[in-house]
């Protein structure tokens, strides 16, 4: 078993764990964590499998750099929405 395959397998498990947390009706912040774990899993799988023969591959590496930036963008947006909801709920509580 090569290093790449090992991390790809870990990536598969991370993806499944993260996606599960994203699907389940948990606290919003927890689902944001789930999304980040899921993305990291997909990235590890992408690079790990592409490099399963051991040699570095710049193409998936560049894709992951793109993906990390997209992830932080989505995370920041999610947190902004969550914080805004919390602020409004605090202003006018229990209108649910």
């Amino acid at each position: 078993m090569s290093t790449g395959l090992l991390y790809a397998a870990a990536g598969a498990m991370l993806f499944v764990l993260g996606a599960t947390a994203l699907i389940l009706p948990l606290a919003p912040l927890r689902r944001v964590l789930g999304f980040n774990v899921m993305g990291s899993g997909a990235f590890l799988l992408l690079v790990g499998l592409a490099q399963r023969d051991g040699a570095a591959d710049a193409v998936p590496q560049a894709m992951v750099l793109t993906g990390i930036v997209v992830s932080v963008a989505a995370t920041a947006l999610a947190l902004a929405i969550i914080r805004r909801i919390a602020a409004l709920e605090r202003k006018a509580p229990a209108d649910d």
């Binding site: 899921m38 992408l46 998936p60 989505a74 999610a78 929405i81 805004r84 909801i85």
Partner: protein, 480 residues
């Protein structure tokens, strides 16, 4: 063949991004003029592109001058050219409407213009891309701008809907991305033109899994029943111009991608999924129509109607070996986009004028807002599939294909769907023609907004008269 500086493919992606960024720099509430000028130019480019396609056939653009699989290829055929035209036309009209909807200097639409630019840019990028990973970035661009547009109204309910939508769209693109990773691992490329000849009927497990993951992710983004849970609150709760963009265009973008991959890359695998997609589509029609009928708010009714109408798009998958089915699917996509944009913009006029979103509050609207009600009725005609609307033509073609293939359950569903649409549309119209219980104050709404809603709805009917050109353009790049 290159056009250098006059390449429509490149400008269709660049222009909206340009005006989005410039509108952001200009500041909150500004950029409307810029956006409309940009949209007008894009519409010109899309028409020009369709023209060159009819003459010269499908075209490509190797970004950076690097041929695939090293570089990213852009490619346009009849299918994507039609979608490009649809996106520019609907977005242009809805943005014109939005200019009246958001008064200058109001806090409401402060960031509408740059966000709309990102949304249109993302959709155009998706429609021209022939690279799986690039498509992923396009999907994220569309998803995040759509979520931001829903969140932008700043009230608790739309914000909650936006968060739910965000989680759904992120899950969808996550599944899609994992599929891309598996494809890259299996073949070493993400270019559609390189990959398509490599996939056979019995591919390795990794490829089957990739196809399933990508399909599931995109179905979630298209809100196919039972994955539609996020759509009604988001589309029903957003401001009218946003609802119109989302319901008319955004869900169609991911449907386009399903169709594109199903007809090309994953064509050898689609037989297994076709029946399931059709069953879910049938479920969507029944469930969406029922929920639309039960809605007490006008915009929720229209949102659930979207859930139902999306179902038709998936009925075509078992019939795709007939050319009629693809034409029916695209015709329905276009007709529904125009009709739904017309309905949401008309609903926006009603809400602005009467201050209420309740269907029961519509009494008397027919005499006070005749043009808007006429728009609602015309759009409703398309949804029901009455001749001579494009909706009728789409359903007629679909019905023909289903009868031809001996798919009787589909025939039944198509007919029942039209009846169900009639039930919920007439519920709205009946209420509107009732005499008003009390003379509530009517806020003046600009004529331009009323006319734009009418133009959108009327276009969904009139499209039925131009179906020949439509089918001709769609045929470019597809051997019939």
């Amino acid at each position: 063949m290159t056009d250098g500086l006059a390449d429509p493919l490149a400008w269709l992606v660049l222009l909206p991004l340009f005006w989005a960024v410039l509108a952001f720099i200009a500041g909150p509430g500004r950029g409307a003029g810029l956006a409309l000028a940009g949209m007008l130019a894009q519409t010109g480019w899309a028409l020009h592109l369709a023209g060159t396609l009819l003459v010269g056939g499908p075209r490509e653009h190797a970004v950076g001058g690097w041929a695939a699989p090293l570089g990213i290829a852009l490619a346009v055929d009849g299918l994507s050219a039609l979608m490009l035209l649809l996106v520019q036309a609907v977005a242009l009209l809805v943005l014109l409407y939005a200019r009246g909807y958001y008064p200058r200097g109001s806090a409401d639409g402060a960031y509408f213009w740059p966000l709309a630019g990102c949304l249109v840019g993302g959709m155009n990028a998706l429609l021209v891309s022939a690279d799986l990973f690039n498509l992923y970035v396009g999907l994220e661009l569309i998803g995040l701008s759509a979520v931001s547009l829903v969140a932008a109204s700043g009230d608790v309910q739309p914000l909650r809907a936006a968060l739910r939508y965000l989680f759904a769209t992120l899950l969808g693109s996550g599944a899609y991305l994992l599929g891309v990773a598996l494809i890259y691992a299996s073949y070493g490329s993400v270019s559609l033109s390189t990959l398509t000849p490599l996939i056979e009927a019995q591919p390795p497990l990794s490829v089957q899994l990739a196809a399933a993951l990508m399909l599931a992710g995109l179905l979630l983004k298209t809100a196919l029943f039972p994955l539609h849970y996020w759509l009604p609150p988001a589309h029903g709760g957003a401001p009218a111009p946003v609802s119109a963009l989302l319901s008319a265009l955004v869900v169609k973008a991911s449907f386009y991608l399903i169709l594109r991959l199903g007809l090309g890359l994953y064509a050898p695998l689609m037989d297994a999924a076709a029946a399931l997609l059709a069953v879910l589509g049938a479920g969507a029609i029944l469930w969406g129509s029922w929920q639309a009928f039960r809605s007490i708010r006008l915009k929720m009714l229209i949102a659930y109607s979207t859930v139902a109408q999306l179902g038709y798009l998936f009925l075509i998958f078992p019939l795709l070996d007939r050319p009629d089915a693809l034409q029916a699917g695209l015709l329905h996509t276009t007709a529904h986009a125009l009709a739904k944009a017309g309905m949401f913009t008309a609903a926006g006029v009603v809400v602005k004028a009467t201050g209420s979103d309740l269907i029961n509050g519509l009494s008397g609207a027919a005499s006070r807002l005749p043009l808007t009600l006429f728009a609602l009725a015309l759009a409703g005609m398309t949804l029901m599939g009455l001749p001579p609307s494009a909706g009728f033509l789409a359903k007629w073609l679909l019905l023909g294909a289903a009868i031809d293939a001996g798919q009787w359950p589909l025939v039944l569903i198509i007919l029942a769907g039209g009846l169900l649409a009639a039930v919920y549309v007439f519920r709205v119209l009946r209420q509107a023609f009732m005499p008003a219980q009390r003379e509530g104050a009517i806020v003046h709404v600009s004529r331009r907004m009323q006319w734009l809603a009418f133009v959108l709805a009327a276009a969904s009917v009139a499209l039925g008269l131009r179906a020949v050109e439509f089918v001709q353009l769609l045929g470019v790049g597809w051997q019939q």
